[in-house]
Amino acid sequence: MASPLAQFEIKKIIEMEAFGYDISFTNSSLAMIMTVVFISLFMYLGLRNLEIIPSKKQSVVESSYEFISGMIGDNIGNEGMKYFSFIFTLFLFILVGNLLGMLPYSFTWTSHIIVTFSIAFFIFIGVTLIAIYKHGIVKFLKFFAPSGVPKPMLILLVPIEIISYLSRPISLSVRLFANMMAGHTLLKVIGGFVFVLGANSFIVGGILPLAFLIALTGLEIVIAFLQAYVFAILTCLYINDAIHLH
């Protein structure tokens, strides 16, 4: 039987190269394209016939808009509305990426650390630039020295603050990657149990792991949503820190 990790393998579909770098079209790229197509289709169908009294499809799209708008309003305030398009796209991109990964034979591109780290790193750089642009480099550096702390404590606190700040992209990316990878590996392992136990006990032995597998699939769908939400809300909090440095 194939390894539970085999599902994460990147398979080249069309080989491509640019400036000496491999940019081949892979199963991961296909899953990402499917994600973009799905989101575009979702938005297009929802917004095709715009009405003041919205249809069901329009309501779904508008509620996703309201959801993100509320999230930004609660965590950043009105100043955060400038970043609405980015956070909206980010949330939907990760959410649909996670959910499409739940389909059999599809690929979960969010289970790759390089992808999640790239997004997290981009957010980290963006947030740092926003903070420097808004408050200047001196005020930004003061962010690492909390006010009201005795000076001797700063020797200990400043490195902790810097490490904590620098570890943001790592924690953000590993959280999503680890959750997705663990969930899918677990599903694959339990799926293997269903097959092996079922084959060795005239199907009867496979029933319990199958029930467990179904329950876990439901849990994974919830986690897919939750991780996209966590990613988006942490991005909001980082942007809030950058705007309001405290």
Binding site: T26, M43, L50, S85, T89, H112
Partner: protein, 185 residues
């Protein structure tokens, strides 16, 4: 807990095995990194641009339009409510005026009627008083006349009774009768 420990165990195991043999965790294979980063950035930018310039403005516009429509309806409702309130106020004012006018009219009518009634009562009382006086004087007159005539009538009646009983005529005197009954003064 299993969710978090499993990938790290796999990660450590894979890092060890990766040094020994090719394979293990596909996530750690750097060969695909450039391709994944390229497609991620490209597709994310495309999706961002589609959302930012095409879909999100549509949602913003329709929500703005909806808010304006709702605000318009609210304004209309407020105007209607205001006009209704002013109408009610005007109606109440008119009602109060009419009420005062009616009360004055009722009071005036009542007073007029009372005057007429009192006048009539007075007239009836006067009339009654006149009639009573006249009746009293009539009674007195009749009484006097009867008192004056009564002895003569009694004498005549006794003459007639004497004639019937005794068979002879006899003329009685009124003065004798008065002496008889002790009324000769």
């Amino acid at each position: 807990m299993l969710r978090y420990t499993l990938p790290f165990c796999l990660l450590i195991a894979d890092t060890i095995s990766a040094s020994e043999e090719k394979g293990g965790m596909p996530q750690l294979n750097p060969e695909s990194f450039s391709s994944q980063i390229f497609w991620l950035i490209s597709l994310f930018i495309i999706l961002f641009l589609i959302n930012h310039y095409f879909f999100l403005p549509k949602i913003k516009n329709i929500r703005k339009k909806r808010d304006e429509t709702i605000q318009g309806y609210l304004d209309d409702a407020k105007k209607l409510n205001d006009s209704f309130n002013s109408l009610v106020e005007k109606m109440n004012k008119e009602f109060e005026e009419v009420k005062i006018e009616q009360n004055a009219l009722i009071k005036k009518t009542f007073e007029e009627n009372k005057k007429i009634f009192d006048k009539k009562i007075l007239e009836i009382n006067n009339d009654f008083e006149d009639k009573k006086n006249k009746l009293n004087s009539d009674i007195d007159e009749n009484k006097k006349m009867i008192t004056k005539e009564l002895p003569k009538l009694c004498v005549d009646l006794s003459d007639k009774l004497y004639e019937k009983i005794m068979g002879e005529k006899k003329k009685g005197s009124v003065d004798d009768f008065k002496k008889l009954i002790g009324d000769d003064k």
